[in-house]
């Protein structure tokens, strides 16, 4: 959604050709990253892979969860797609025009950077989930479906997706990444979960209840802080 906001702002202010070219090149770069790293990950022994992937997912998931909890409890401002869109369009209008290879360079680079940076998170999730479950193509299909859904929603709404509860989505992603990171990380470290894979929903419930508890505790703490 963040990438969609940037591309929309560039398309409206700098022209769709440069915005879509930047998006296309960034998507190709992301596909190349997944295609290059995917097969390499599948040759790593599963225990080592789960340890490394679990650790990375945990660190990554806790980043998402931390931000989502701070936003939900009022300690950090909630991201507003509408104001990001306005900021990007203002910057797009103010930037000087420079044409390179037939495209507006500013629109191209901003779109490319936005899609590549936001897409790297998706590529990371695709690679980690796909490699540990032995099906990178399935993980890629899931990610592509999500991208298509966001683009279709953007075209239908004809603007930034400001009504989507972005922080709730970030919270859910953080809970899922932290859950799988905990489960695979511990397995990779040599632990046998009681009940095997059946422990996964229990870990999910634990992470969810813990996170909601932290939101509640921080909200109470926020109320005690003088304005």
């Amino acid at each position: 959604m963040e990438a969609l906001t940037i591309v929309l702002a560039m398309g409206v202010t700098r022209g769709w050709r440069s915005a879509l070219t930047g998006t296309g090149v960034a998507l190709l770069a992301l596909a190349a990253i997944v295609a290059a790293l995917g097969p390499a990950l599948t040759v790593i022994p599963i225990a080592v892979l789960r340890l490394v992937v679990g650790a990375l997912l945990l660190v990554f998931g806790l980043q998402w969860l931390r931000k989502a909890i701070l936003r939900a409890s009022g300690w950090r401002a909630v991201r507003n797609e509408e104001s990001v869109y306005e900021r990007e369009t203002a910057a797009g209008r103010a930037a000087a025009s420079e044409e390179r290879a037939g495209v507006d360079w500013y629109g191209f680079t901003v779109s490319f950077k936005g899609v590549l940076l936001e897409g790297l998170e998706v590529a990371f999730i695709v690679l980690t989930f796909g490699s540990t479950q032995g099906s990178i193509p399935l993980a890629v299909a899931g990610a592509v479906a999500a991208v298509v859904l966001v683009v279709v929603a953007g075209v239908v709404v004809h603007g930034p997706l400001s009504r989507v509860p972005e922080n709730t989505l970030a919270f859910a992603v953080g809970v899922m990444l932290t859950t799988f990171g905990t489960f695979w990380g511990a397995e990779g470290a040599g632990v046998d979960w009681p009940g095997g894979d059946a422990a996964l929903p229990v870990v999910l419930a634990f992470v969810l209840v813990m996170s909601l508890g932290y939101v509640g505790a921080l909200r109470r703490r926020r109320r005690l802080v003088p304005a």
């Binding site: 931390r66 950090r76 921080l218």
Partner: protein, 61 residues
């Protein structure tokens, strides 16, 4: 090169490096205990809860 390194540091480690350090320590401890203790699975969820709470408190205090 420095900016490239900073990008990856920010991408993986994020705002609070203590979270990454805490998780690395917890995984090491889990691996150490897993060879002798069948209930070592408890270590990581508890460490996750503690590391996250401490990180949140640093912002909220």
């Amino acid at each position: 090169m420095k900016r490239f390194g900073l990008f990856w540091w920010d991408f993986i480690v994020g705002d609070d490096w203590r979270v990454a350090a805490g998780i690395a320590l917890a995984l090491g401890l889990t691996a150490l205990l897993a060879t002798t203790w069948t209930t070592a699975w408890i270590v990581l969820p508890l460490a996750v809860a503690a590391v996250l709470w401490l990180s949140l408190l640093r912002v909220a205090s």
